[in-house]
C-alpha cells in the first residue's frame, strides 16, 4: 500500500512541477543586476582543481585571484570589491552543472570567467546564458564558445584550428618539410588541431602523410612513434599536452630518430623542459602568451613575478599569466562600463575596449559587436638551452 501512496505522492509532486515548468519565468522590472551590489561584484569560475587538468586549473585560479586582490587593494571597480567564487569540478560535467547552478542561484555570479574543459563548458554554458550571465574566456577549444555570436559569450584564446593552420604552414614553408605527420589525442582537442594542420597543408599543396592517435592519459607512445618513423616523416605536429609531449620526444630520441616536432600551446609550458630535460631540446611550440621567465624579464614582469611568489610561494607559469590576463581584461571592461554595471553595459564596454599589449607580451585582444573572439594568433617558440625562446611575432 505504501508503494502506491508514495507513487501517488510523487506523481502529484511531479505534476505540480510540470505545471510550474510550463509557466514562463517572471521577470521583475527594476531588479538590480545579479551579483552586483553596492559593495561588491561577485564572479564565478568553474575550474578543474583535482582532476586531469589540475596542473592548469590551479595556476589559472591563482592568477585571477592575484589580479582581483590587487584591484581591490586599489579601491576596487568604481568602489566595488571583486569577489571570485571558484568551484572545482574535477573535469566532471555533472559536477559542473551543479556548480553552475550554485554560482547562478546561491552566489548570484555576475559573470563566469575561465571555465575549464570542453565537456564541462559545453554542459554549463547553456545554463549560464539562459540565466543571462556573462560567459567569458573559457578554456575550451570548442568554437561554440564564440559562434554563433551571442551577446553574453566571449572567447579570448586563439582556436587551435586557426593558429595551428598558420603555424604548420609557416614551419613547412620556412623549413622546407615534405612529409608532415601528426600525433594527436583522440578527443575534441586533437581533432581541432588535426583540422588546422590539414587546412594549413592544403593551402601549400601538401597533405598529412601519416596520423596516429592516443588516449588521454597515455604514458607509453612507442608504437605511435614507430608508426610515424616508418612513414618517414620529416616533421611531426604534436596535439599533446605536457606529459605526452615529453614521452613522444623521449621515445623518438631514444630510438635515434632525429625529427623536428611542433607542439600546440597545450604543450608550451615550462614543465615541458623542466621535466623533459635534454630530450625536449629543440622542440618547437606555439605560444599564445609567453612563459613568464624571471631571467630576462622586463621590469613590470619581474615585479609581477616577485608579487606572485610572495603571494603563493611558487614561481608563476604561463597558466598563471593567462589567469591574470583574463582577470585584468575583466577589470578593464568593468571600469569602462561605469558605475551602473549591467551585463549589457559590460558587453558594450568590452566590445569597444582597446587594451594595450601587456607586460606578459600578450597579443592585442580585440572584440567587436560582430566578433567575440579576441585573438586568432599564436607565435612560434623553441626550447633552447632549457627554456622556451620566442622565434616569431604573432603569425597572421
Amino acid at each position: 500500500m505504501s508503494v502506491r501512496l508514495l507513487a501517488l505522492g510523487l506523481a502529484l509532486f511531479a505534476h505540480a512541477l510540470l505545471v510550474g515548468a510550463t509557466t514562463p519565468g517572471v521577470v521583475t522590472p527594476g531588479v538590480s543586476t545579479p551579483g552586483v551590489s553596492e559593495r561588491e561584484i561577485v564572479l564565478g569560475s568553474i575550474q578543474d582543481l583535482s582532476g586531469p587538468g589540475a596542473l592548469l586549473g590551479t595556476p589559472v585560479r591563482d592568477g585571477m585571484l592575484l589580479r582581483f586582490e590587487e584591484a581591490n587593494a586599489a579601491g576596487g571597480v568604481h568602489g566595488r570589491t571583486l569577489r571570485l567564487v571558484v568551484e572545482d569540478t574535477g573535469y566532471d560535467p555533472k559536477r559542473g552543472v551543479l556548480a553552475t547552478r550554485k554560482l547562478i542561484q546561491r552566489d548570484q555570479a555576475f559573470a563566469f570567467l575561465a571555465n575549464f574543459g570542453t565537456p564541462v563548458v559545453m554542459a554549463t554554458m547553456p545554463l549560464i546564458l539562459d540565466a543571462g550571465r556573462l560567459h567569458l574566456f573559457p578554456f575550451s577549444p570548442h568554437e561554440s564558445t564564440y559562434v554563433p555570436l551571442h551577446p553574453l559569450k566571449f572567447q579570448l584564446f586563439a582556436p587551435y584550428q586557426d593558429y595551428m593552420e598558420r603555424a604548420t604552414r609557416h614551419m613547412v614553408q620556412s623549413r622546407g618539410y615534405k612529409r608532415t605527420c601528426l600525433l594527436y589525442q583522440d578527443d575534441d582537442y586533437g581533432l581541432e588541431v588535426m583540422k588546422g594542420v590539414e587546412a594549413g597543408l592544403v593551402r601549400i599543396g601538401q597533405r598529412l602523410v601519416e596520423r596516429t592517435s592516443y588516449k588521454r592519459g597515455a604514458t607509453e607512445l612507442s608504437s605511435q612513434i614507430a608508426r610515424l618513423r616508418a612513414a618517414n616523416c620529416d616533421f611531426v605536429v604534436l596535439a599533446t599536452v605536457v606529459r605526452e609531449t615529453i614521452v613522444a620526444m623521449s621515445e623518438a630520441r631514444k630510438t635515434g630518430w632525429v625529427v623536428d616536432m611542433l607542439v600546440t600551446a597545450s604543450g608550451y609550458s615550462a614543465q615541458t623542459h623542466e621535466l623533459g630535460g635534454v630530450a625536449v631540446e629543440g622542440l618547437f611550440g606555439v605560444s599564445v602568451l609567453p612563459h613568464p621567465y624571471a631571467e630576462g624579464a622586463n621590469p613590470a614582469l619581474a615585479e609581477w613575478i616577485v608579487r606572485y611568489r610572495a603571494r603563493y610561494g611558487v614561481d608563476p607559469n604561463v597558466w598563471s599569466a593567462m589567469g591574470y590576463s583574463i582577470a585584468d581584461l575583466f577589470v578593464q571592461a568593468a571600469n569602462a562600463a561605469g558605475r551602473e554595471l549591467t551585463a549589457a553595459g559590460f558587453v558594450s564596454a568590452l566590445e569597444q575596449l582597446d587594451p594595450p599589449r601587456d607586460f606578459f607580451g600578450s597579443p592585442a585582444y580585440r572584440f567587436s559587436a560582430t566578433d567575440h573572439l579576441g585573438n586568432r594568433h599564436g607565435r612560434l617558440a623553441q626550447i633552447r638551452d632549457g627554456r622556451w625562446e620566442i622565434l616569431t611575432d604573432y603569425l597572421k
Binding site: 559536477r95 556548480a99 547552478r101
Partner: protein
C-alpha cells in the same frame, strides 16, 4: 519463501522511507539554496539512482561483479542523443535507449556462462573499454571525441528545460523503475537471482534454476535501467562525449551502490544522494569556513574521500542497512 518476500518488502519500504526522507531535505534545500539549484541536484540524484537500481539487481541480487555499468549508461545516453537530434520524440527514443542498453547488458553477460567471480568482472571491464573505444572511433555516427550536443527533452508543447520539469521527469522514471524492480525482486526472477548469488551449483541442482539465464536476465534488466538513466542524463547535461563514460564513471556507479547498500533497492537512492550531493555539501561548507586552506586545490576531493572511507568503515553493508 514468505520470509524472503517479507524481507524484500521490508527492504522496499525502507527504500520508500528513504525516498520520503529525501522530501524534507529537498524542501530545506529549496529554502536555503534556491529552487533551481536544489531541483538540479535532486534531478541528478534521482537519475543516478535509476542507474543504481540496475546495479542493485546485478550486484546485490544476482551477486555478479560488473565493472562496465558506465558503458551501458553510455549506450543509453548515445542512443537517446542520436535519436533526439534527429527529431525522434522521447516516447520512442527513450524506449529505444533502454532496449539498446539492455541488449548491451545481454552481451556483457555472455562470458558469465563460462567465467565467474573476478574473471567475469574483468570481462565486463573489457566490454566497457570496447564500448568507449567504439564511441570514439565511430566518428561518422558519434562525432568521436568531439562529443554531441543534446537538445532539451521535448514532446509536443512540453519541454523539460527547467530544473523543476527535469526533476519531475526523473521522479516519474524512478518511481516506475522502483515499482518494476519491486515486482522483479519479489517474484520468481528475484528468487532465482538470490539463489545464484548464494550458491550457483546448489541453485541449479536443488532448485532447477538455470544460473546462466538468471544472470542474463539480471544484466538485461540492469542494462535497461542504466540505459534509461543514461537517456535522461544526456538531456540534463546537454553534451555527451566518450570520456564522460570511462572506467572512472563505472567505478563511481559501483561505489554508489556499495555506499548505499547493494542488496536493497533503497541503497541506490542513498548511494546516489551521497555520490551526487556530498561534493556540493562540501562546497557549501567550504564557503562557510574561514581561512585560506579551504581554498586549496583538491581539498574537496580529499574531504569527499574521507567521508567515503568513514561511511565504508561505519556502515560496511551500506547506508540502507537496517
Amino acid at each position: 519463501m514468505s520470509g524472503v518476500r517479507e524481507r524484500v518488502a521490508t527492504g522496499l519500504e525502507a527504500g520508500l522511507g528513504a525516498g520520503l526522507a529525501v522530501v524534507p531535505f529537498l524542501a530545506l534545500a529549496v529554502a536555503v539554496l534556491g529552487a533551481d539549484y536544489a531541483f538540479g541536484q535532486a534531478t541528478l540524484v534521482l537519475t543516478y539512482a535509476i542507474a543504481g537500481l540496475g546495479l542493485v539487481i546485478i550486484v546485490g541480487q544476482a551477486g555478479q561483479i560488473t565493472l562496465g555499468h558506465g558503458a551501458l549508461f553510455a549506450l543509453g545516453a548515445y542512443v537517446e542523443a542520436l535519436l533526439a537530434v534527429r527529431g525522434v520524440p522521447p516516447v520512442l527514443s527513450i524506449p529505444a535507449a533502454v532496449v539498446v542498453a539492455a541488449l548491451g547488458g545481454m552481451l556483457a553477460s555472455l562470458p558469465a556462462r563460462r567465467l565467474g567471480g573476478l574473471y567475469f568482472g574483468m570481462s565486463t571491464l573489457a566490454f566497457a573499454l570496447i564500448v568507449e573505444e567504439g564511441l570514439v572511433r565511430w566518428e561518422s555516427l558519434t562525432r568521436g571525441g568531439a562529443g554531441l550536443a543534446v537538445p532539451a527533452l521535448a514532446w509536443g508543447d512540453f519541454s523539460a528545460r527547467t530544473p523543476g520539469a527535469q526533476l519531475a521527469v526523473s521522479a516519474i522514471a524512478l518511481v516506475l523503475a522502483l515499482l518494476a524492480c519491486r515486482r522483479w525482486v519479489s517474484g520468481r526472477a528475484g528468487r532465482a537471482w538470490r539463489a545464484v548469488r548464494e550458491d550457483e551449483v546448489a541453485a541449479a541442482e536443488a532448485c532447477g534454476i538455470d544460473p546462466a539465464a538468471a544472470k542474463l536476465s539480471a544484466f538485461v534488466i540492469g542494462g535497461g535501467l542504466a540505459g534509461l538513466a543514461g537517456a535522461l542524463y544526456a538531456h540534463w547535461i546537454g553534451f555527451i562525449s566518450p570520456d564522460q563514460f570511462g572506467l572512472m564513471f563505472s567505478f563511481e556507479l559501483l561505489m554508489l551502490v556499495f555506499i548505499g547498500g547493494a542488496r536493497r533497492l533503497s541503497g541506490a537512492l542513498w548511494g546516489a544522494l551521497v555520490i551526487v550531493s556530498l561534493p556540493q555539501v562540501i562546497a557549501l561548507l567550504r564557503d562557510a569556513l574561514p581561512g585560506e586552506w579551504t581554498r586549496s586545490a583538491g581539498v574537496e576531493a580529499m574531504l569527499f574521500g574521507a567521508v567515503i572511507v568513514a561511511v565504508v568503515l561505519l556502515r560496511p553493508q551500506g547506508l540502507a542497512r537496517r
